[in-house]
């Protein structure tokens, strides 16, 4: 029986941690981009577009991420394409995070007083211009704390991708546990590493929220 | 024999000395008004009497109970003296009747039926018997404050502390509350009232206390107090405020 040191375990976990971070960043960026698209569509003049987005958000927020992951994984496979785990993970997390981010940002846009819309309309701007030049820049400030907060959710969400075989931190934990028979230590360390990733972000989000709340009191 | 004894009470918030040595004795059945500018310490003094604020030095007692530091001692004290707040502070999730009943039941162990009767009596006393099942948000400010009075009365206190109880009311509602207070006074309740209602103080109170910069600056029966203020600060204060 090969003896494993704690350092062996930690080193291997850290290697997998890279992929957790990479997947999180990818999902955040792609999800954010899709989220903005959804946001614009949500505000559309066309009822059909608004309803589609509402259903999209309902479905992605009302079903388990695990199921979404499986559907993407097996869904793409239906087209005969060999889908690598990281791709399915990326697509699923993108679609999932886009739904939450669109909702969060919609809340921020809604918080902008009607007067802003009215004033910009009087200046003959169309909806797109109103959003882009007047409303979104103001909504951006309010949006930063909850968006940073959701980044924490994305990092935690990547754990589920271990189930389809993507070797991020949790999968590495499972593999290493099977090799070392030390689940308490291994998963303890895995938890610790997620904590080290997430906790600073959580605190930063809270800090930002306090800062903006104070700034809001004119 | 005094009911409420306040002896050399001092209190500071950090470097700010809010009470600089208060000596006051209030007799049973007395109605005492405390007036003064904001920042003079009058509300703070009132809140020290039932322990909502702690004192740094000195001594306060109500009846046979000395103001202590522990929760248990504070609760002993609060059984003897009730408080009415400027913002009423009725419990919004309870009906009027339950607002009045709740403390006798959970603190004094009264039976439901018994508490109900006491509540009915006190609500009748303040003229709101028919509002027993209503909720606070269905009542006007004046009615809410009267419920608050009924709630405090249900604990059968020896004295009531009133912290600017009409200041948050629309002018036309002030009188219905003062009417109740007047009635309590004639029935012999001991009252300590921080108030801006000078006319009321003049008509109902036995003594008026003027507080200035954390001290009892002048004190006396209303006839002298309002017509012949002795100190320049009180003269100025009364000139500022119409009597």
């Amino acid at each position: 029986m090969i003896g494993f040191t704690i350092w062996d375990i930690v080193r291997n976990l850290l290697l997998a941690l890279r992929w957790t971070v990479a997947l999180s960043l990818l999902s955040f960026l792609m999800g954010g981009t899709l989220g903005i698209v959804l946001l614009f569509m949500r505000n559309s003049r066309y009822r059909i577009l608004r309803d589609i987005i509402r259903v999209y958000i309902e479905v992605f927020q009302g079903t388990p991420l695990l199921m979404q992951l499986f559907l993407v994984f097996f869904g793409i496979a239906l087209f005969g394409i060999e889908v690598p785990a990281w791709l399915a993970a990326g697509v699923a997390l993108t679609l999932w995070s886009a739904s939450f981010l669109a909702e969060i940002w919609r809340g921020c846009v809604d918080a902008i007083p009607r007067g802003q819309w009215e004033a910009s309309a009087c200046l003959a701007m169309n909806r797109f211009q109103q959003m882009r030049h007047i409303v979104l820049p103001q909504a951006l400030r309010i949006a930063i704390p909850p968006t940073v907060g959701f980044g924490v959710q994305i990092i935690k969400g990547t754990a589920v991708t271990s189930i389809i075989g993507f070797v991020e931190l949790s999968k590495a934990g499972t593999i290493i546990t099977n090799a070392t028979f030390q689940p308490f230590i291994v998963f303890g360390l895995v938890g610790l590493m997620y904590f080290v990733l997430c906790w600073p972000l959580s605190k930063y989000s809270q800090f930002l929220e306090r800062k903006f709340n104070v700034a809001h009191r004119h | 024999m005094s009911l409420i004894v306040i002896e050399n009470v001092k209190k500071s918030y950090g470097n700010n000395a809010v009470l600089r040595g208060i000596d006051l004795e209030i007799n049973p059945g007395e109605v005492v008004a405390i007036i003064g500018k904001s920042g003079s310490g009058k509300s703070t003094l009132l809140r020290c009497i039932n322990g909502l604020e702690t004192i740094d030095e000195g001594l306060i007692s109500v009846g046979d109970v000395l103001l202590g530091r522990s929760e248990r001692e504070l609760r002993e004290l609060r059984l003897r003296v009730g408080m009415i707040f400027q913002q009423f502070n009725l419990f919004p999730h309870l009906s009027v009747g339950r607002n009045v009943m709740i403390s006798p039941i959970i603190v004094k162990g009264a039976k439901e039926q018994q508490a109900r009767e006491i509540a009915q009596q006190n609500l009748t006393r303040v003229g709101l018997a028919e509002k027993f099942d209503s909720y606070p948000d269905q009542l006007s400010g004046g009615q809410q404050q009267r419920v608050a009075i009924a709630r405090a009365l249900s604990m059968q206190p020896k004295a009531l502390l009133c912290d600017e109880i009409t200041s948050a009311l629309d002018p036309e509602l002030v009188n219905e509350v003062l009417g109740v207070v007047r009635k309590l006074a004639t029935e012999g309740m001991t009252l300590v009232m921080v108030t801006h209602e000078m006319r009321f103080a003049r008509e109902v109170c036995d003594r008026v206390v003027f507080m200035h910069q954390g001290r009892v600056h002048e004190i006396g029966p209303p006839e002298e107090f309002f017509s012949k203020p002795k100190t320049p600060e009180l003269q100025q204060f009364l000139g500022m405020v119409s009597v």
């Binding site: 079903t63 199921m67 935690k156 689940p183 | 604990m155």
Partner: protein, 237 residues
Amino acid sequence: MIYQFDFSSILEYAKVLEQGVLMTIRLIVIGGVAGVSLGIFGAWARTQGPRWLKPIISAYVELIRNTPFLVQLFFIFFGLPSIGVTITELQAAIIAMVINLGAYSTEIIRAGVSAIARGQIEAALSLSMTRLQVFRYVILRPALQKVWPALSSQIVIVMLGSSICSQISVEELSFAANFIQSRNFRAFEAYLVTTLIYLIMAILLRQILHYIGRRFVFHRPSIVAPKSIAILKGGQA
């Protein structure tokens, strides 16, 4: 080549799906009640509890909220036995869900408690109530009223998260889906049907929680209600 969808092969396994649904319901009912109860305790401890307890609760909340449920579950199910604690899959799943929901609930309810106006507390104290009585009769129900939507959302999230318990062989709905697709190789159909069932369950759960809110949390009886109503109701003798 067009893929032939075959949903009938899924419906053959309707019984399996039904068992899965029942287990998921079991998990969320036990987990939900225990988790929210733990949350109430945690909120009390953080606002009024003994000094030594506060940092422990804070640490617990921060730890759970900043680690994935999957890791928490695996730590409990795989980790505990390795230090001598024997535990079944179901026990591990329920414990993990309770600990998870407990942490989030503590934070949510605590926010509600903090939002209670100080005057309410002062009025209650002036009526000579103990701090515990103040919490139970004056603070708790208004706090729950304020946060009921957020709390309901969190309960739904935990119900959806229970899908992960399939990974430790708890026979809930996701496990049923895995089972079915391993038999008939209709993975996409199996997961599609299961996902739809989850969606329906989530919608129903939200409705149920909304109803519970109206009935017990926001409930305003015009007569004194019978003693049998849940502990969530304040103001009852």
